[in-house]
Amino acid sequence: MEEAVVMKNVCKDFKVLNRHEGLKGSIKDLFSRDYKTVSAVKDVTMTVNRGEIIGYLGPNGAGKSTTIKIMTGVLEPTSGEILVNGKVPYKNRTENCENIGVVFGQRSQLWWSLPLIESFKLLKDLYMVPEKEYDDMIALYRSLVDIEPILHKPVRQMSLGQRTLSDILAAFLHNPAIVFLDEPTIGLDVSMKSKIRELILGLNKEKNTTVILTTHDMGDVDALCKRIVIIDKGMKIYDNDIDHLKNYFGSYRTLKLKLADDTWEEMLIDEKTTDVMDVIMEKQKEKKIKDVKILEISTEEVIRKIYEGGTK
């Protein structure tokens, strides 16, 4: 089996009550039956291959979380087909859960007042992990990160970084086929971020785990993902290699000019339509330019362009 996740024309609608404004509206809402349908996911088709780390991106409210909830079997799609590890997740929720690991936002799924090691032991029993595999996994963890300082600490006393780290370790503990990471590096400092990225890479390489990562941090994407899928307003708008993405906007350059008053001016230029030199010359007529930098387009800018509707 090569595919970890297969989705075909998956849609998900929610019914929401139309709320009215103001005090009068509140009273009216008490009896109102005025519902509207909101489509969170519209006709998404995609495949995730085994062992891949895929970046699942999109602006806030694009439908990322809903898709992940569908893949984890928590939500049933309104229409369409979905297979995770060859099974329909919402029909076999418990079974599906055995083969996935989830880190959802900043919500710890560990036992709040227990030391991490005790949580691990409980998870080992919950997932019926054989003793040997468990020991091997802990040994692997030790080789990848320094877990000693957190192992005997209750989760509620941990810093945000330590908690995230613990949650990621807990998600990989039963050696699942797929791990879902929802914004794992949000709110973390630079060094913790890179530690966590290294850990994810290491575990992916060692165990060939498929990782589906949603994030707003392009640093995560650059460090981890080879392929990205972007959705917006519930629809898939991009699905390809990250390199391809850069080629797509490959003719774009960021031009930075240092002006006489020591301020930097930044502009995005498409070399196909505009000549960089022309722009500089033009600018020089107005103001004196002290320094010039030409940069390749960054992932962040590419993504921004796509969110703003620059594709197709």
């Binding site: 709320r19 103001g22 509140s26 809402d29 009896f31």
Partner: protein, 269 residues
């Protein structure tokens, strides 16, 4: 403090209460069932006693008293202890303290919206039903106005009891324990479970002067014309008791709250 701002809080509170629409219907329905339970229990109790009047209370008196006590309980109910404990545990309390309004005031006025909604949705319908069913067992005169005044006092006293208890959460993490102790004491000693008239003489002498009575028993006595509230003298006595406790509890609550805030600022939340 600008009264417009306080009213804005109340208005937001009303809208928030109405937002949970199904909950309101369920609450109404559940209250009705609860009242049926109370009715049958006391009907059986009076049927077994052989007399119509026990401790100066007829069956109708007792019923009206208990039903209205339940209605007042519902509309006065606050979850300050739970709210505060949650915001302490999540650290949100620091943000609450930063709001441009004193925390005590802020909480009070946001709850007022809820109280207003609950008053019209639970108390008024209950009262009307009781009026119709008992064919005017409740006198309809000045006592209504005195009752409303007493209810406002009761509301403030109840809030102050909450605010005296809630900051204890800062010192221990026992929200459940603190809340249940408070609720048990208030419900029993305020006469919400059993009318104070049924208490043995000696206990009643003490309970009479405690603040809990001021929350349920005094407003109800005034409404029903009991406890001597039908005379000016008696009425003044009851109001006097409420006002004394109102002042004592407000002052005590203020002092205790300021101590608690100091602890928050020292510990950094």
């Amino acid at each position: 403090m600008n009264p417009k701002r306080l009213l804005a809080l109340t208005r937001a509170g009303i809208m928030e209460s109405l937002y949970f629409r199904l909950g309101i219907f369920v609450t109404l329905f559940a209250n009705l069932i609860y009242l049926v339970l109370v009715y049958y229990l006391w009907k059986a109790i009076y049927a077994s006693s052989g007399t119509d009047v026990v401790n100066g209370m007829t069956f109708t008196d007792t019923m009206i008293y208990l039903i209205l006590a339940t209605a007042i309980f519902n509309f006065l109910e606050m979850f300050v202890v739970w709210d505060m404990s949650r915001s302490i545990q999540s650290g949100k309390i620091v943000l609450d303290l930063l709001k441009p309004m004193r925390y005590r005031k802020y909480t009070f006025w946001s709850y007022t919206g809820n109280h207003v909604v609950q008053f019209f949705l639970t108390f008024v319908p209950t009262f009307i039903v009781v009026m119709i069913v008992t064919h005017g067992a409740i006198k309809f005169g000045l006592n209504i106005i005195w009752f409303l005044v007493a209810t406002v006092f009761a509301l403030i006293i109840n809030y102050n009891i909450e605010m005296l208890v809630a900051p204890i959460c800062l010192f221990t993490e026992s929200t459940w324990g603190i809340n249940i102790v408070k609720e048990t004491i208030v419900l029993l000693l305020s006469g919400a479970t059993i009318p104070l008239a049924f208490f043995p003489e000696k206990i009643r002498m003490i309970v009479q002067y405690l603040p809990f009575r001021a929350v349920y028993d005094i407003p109800l006595s005034i409404l029903l014309g009991k406890s001597g509230s039908d005379t000016w003298d008696g009425l003044l006595k009851l109001f006097g008791l409420q006002i004394v406790w109102l002042i004592v509890l407000t002052v005590a609550g203020n002092i205790f709250w300021n101590c608690a805030v100091k602890k928050i600022t020292v510990n950094g939340g």
